[in-house]
Symmetry: C3
Subunit: 356 residues, 3 copies
Amino acid sequence: MNTTQFSLAELAKEVDGEITGNAELAIHAFSPLETAKDGDISFLVKAKDVGMLDSFTGSAVIVPMAIETASIPLIRVDNPYLASAKIHTLLLQKPFVAKGVHDQVCIGKDSDVPQQISIAPFVSIGNRVQLGERVSIESGVVLGDDVQIGDDCILKNNVSIADGCIIGNRVIIHPGAVIGSDGYGYATDKRGFHTKRPQVGSVHIGNDVEIGANACVDRATYGVTRILSGSKIDNLVQIAHNVVIGENNLIVSQVGIAGSVTLGRNVVLGGQAGVKDHITIGDGVMAAAQSGIHNNQKAGEIIGGSPAIPMKHFARAAIQFAKLPEMARNIRQLKREIAALQVLVTETNEDNGDKK
Amino acid sequence: MNTTQFSLAELAKEVDGEITGNAELAIHAFSPLETAKDGDISFLVKAKDVGMLDSFTGSAVIVPMAIETASIPLIRVDNPYLASAKIHTLLLQKPFVAKGVHDQVCIGKDSDVPQQISIAPFVSIGNRVQLGERVSIESGVVLGDDVQIGDDCILKNNVSIADGCIIGNRVIIHPGAVIGSDGYGYATDKRGFHTKRPQVGSVHIGNDVEIGANACVDRATYGVTRILSGSKIDNLVQIAHNVVIGENNLIVSQVGIAGSVTLGRNVVLGGQAGVKDHITIGDGVMAAAQSGIHNNQKAGEIIGGSPAIPMKHFARAAIQFAKLPEMARNIRQLKREIAALQVLVTETNEDNGDKK
Amino acid sequence: MNTTQFSLAELAKEVDGEITGNAELAIHAFSPLETAKDGDISFLVKAKDVGMLDSFTGSAVIVPMAIETASIPLIRVDNPYLASAKIHTLLLQKPFVAKGVHDQVCIGKDSDVPQQISIAPFVSIGNRVQLGERVSIESGVVLGDDVQIGDDCILKNNVSIADGCIIGNRVIIHPGAVIGSDGYGYATDKRGFHTKRPQVGSVHIGNDVEIGANACVDRATYGVTRILSGSKIDNLVQIAHNVVIGENNLIVSQVGIAGSVTLGRNVVLGGQAGVKDHITIGDGVMAAAQSGIHNNQKAGEIIGGSPAIPMKHFARAAIQFAKLPEMARNIRQLKREIAALQVLVTETNEDNGDKK
């Protein structure tokens, strides 16, 4: 049970909000609007939904600035969606409780395990591994030799991080994710036999990154595959060797990014999108789900389709795609009408010629 | 070696079949038609393939009703494909043998482990976990706190089920599947930095569900991500937060279902299909492989393409798609012909005008 | 630190190369051209880039035959990309050092563990398992009963190989991959309830195969799912029951291959491609990323699109796809022009008729 509590004033301060109502009101928990109880704070994203506050059963609501007053205490903010995430996080926050290292853990030589740490059973840690403060490592995690993990990281069940990979601070890696598997690189001889190219690079992951369940990040062939700070990678995403993912990207589930792709800052790739190898994607590019990105993209482009084109073109073309059979019929009909006209006009001209 | 045996009559009763031939015939095993041996029963799906029975080397065959007699014993049924699955299952059935809890298993506080259970080495079980009767838990499985598992479940190698998830009876979860990972939800500030929204909901899985290898089912942001009874999820499928999957769905490999999607009963999503967030898909909808479903779908729709449209339209449009270059040439040619006609008709009219 | 060293002559011999310069030069390591140090060998793929050798800071370069001389020692070969892979591999090669079986490993009855082996902690091995020489099994790996592993294999963290699967020599299986999970097969009754078909077949994997991280290979319903020698499967690939993958295939990340598909030799499937069940794909077929292959393909076909068509048709059609709105406008315009012409021609003819 969560026994933390904050005053409305403390919460408002956290999000630069303005209070309407009792600033000393005690808030214990966060709930959606529909299920809030006494002591709960909720949130409302759109001012037009203000009527939903009438049946509210909690204690306070985070609302957009446009809602100026209500019968219940409010925290008014520019972005209620963001403010509610911050306040919810604050209300859930607990001090790190170090559970220490379970008996059933194997740790290699010269590895550095701080006191403020929790390592669950059946975890295997290689040689010369460096672990930051307040790291939580769940069951079945395997860390290779020379791995470095920053402070306040959470490595969930069965995560695998191979030799030499470096992880920043406050990184969350979800169950089954694989960091530092070999890149997919072969050289083919005349008989069609593939020789594996050694994959001797590494993976570096910045701060505040999240890697989804069963996602894969391959090590570089040489050099480093990088995921820069603030980027969020969803489940089952494939990130190939030598990819560079810029800051604050959102890479949605099942996206595949081929080798040596470079993504700028704040790129958003929708679910199941694919990016061809050696492509550069500019800052702020947004690609629709299932896009197939074959070419470099300038900053700010919004694209869709496979091969991907500007989204507004894709949307219009997709509407026409459904009408292709009708279009084909129209063309056949036009052909017939033109042929008929050609006969008619030729006859007319011959008639005229006769008369001449 | 399987030493179970059933009489033809016992097997026929299991599937409401009619026997032709010796009802007391002993059947030991199930085999495909081509490789059946003495004591084996096989199946034939289509009556038109009746000639395949001539070279049959086993003991009996499950056939469609339309085959009325043969030189070998038959079980005649409405649906031989279904009947053969049931009979094969019956022939393989063995009583559950409890192997107990291996020495190398960690179990938290207040967890409830019945006697009729098999837990393999290196399994980690949290606090207050409830396990049903005759559950089999293979190596490397991790169950979080407060997990509930029903009767007769099989959790295969390295499956991960996070805190508070609830699993029904007779559920099979294949290796590496992840149940209850965090949903993918962030709120973005003006600088482009993403704040994680706490994911405090759960996952509930009904009875007779199967979850494929390395598939992922995210917990709800609030509330519950649900997979209702009888649904079968293939390998590497992504099911996002707050999704509701109705009863008896077939979700084929690598499908991705975005947040807050609701699927009805008996929906079929072909491999690699994707469903946009907050969509509702009616009962019995069938989507072709690689579909991209962007809109609500009424019950019974059969759809394909990305964005998905009715399958018959998609099939016709896809044929025309391949002819687009020809279509473009045709249009250019029509333009030229019309331009020529326009010249001709104008001249004719001028001629006529001259004569007037 | 790698202290192996080879003379330029020894390396050249390995790749049938011709030496320019000092054949006795000692080479210690392999590096990309840009970062080579003294003692390093690098490679240059294209003769036209010969200028890059001017600023080279290493000791020798593998170059194409067309480069005949340079100010630094060269190994001249037909295929520098291939030769460099072989030479890099040779320079990294170390004798297998058997670490033996860790204390925290569970091995079943009648399993055969040779002396030349490394088995990491928390590995679980079933009954009657056969392990080849110089096999390395990393943490969290689970091998079922009756599994056979050839010589010189590497099974990385948390790999799962189910009962009865057979793996050849020199196979590498990356973290989290699942071999031998149940095929996805159900028979549906009139009420829409799905009965699982028992999946009693196996998986056989040939020599020199590589299986990517979190990839899945399902066992056959009956019979065998096969991956023949030399094939390389990337991360997150799905290979369904009864698939046969020929020799030396390249199956790129996130590809999905449905049940009973047969691929020939040296097939290449681009990332996220999907193959419909029961299809046969001929030798040397190449499918673009995100292809959806619905039909049998003859040897040597190069295809793209979903449904897949010959690549050159797809490429042209995709260009026209983007122009569909323009095409629709053109057709509407042609209709109007033809209608106008029809009016004009009719009037002209009536005029002419009047005059007759």
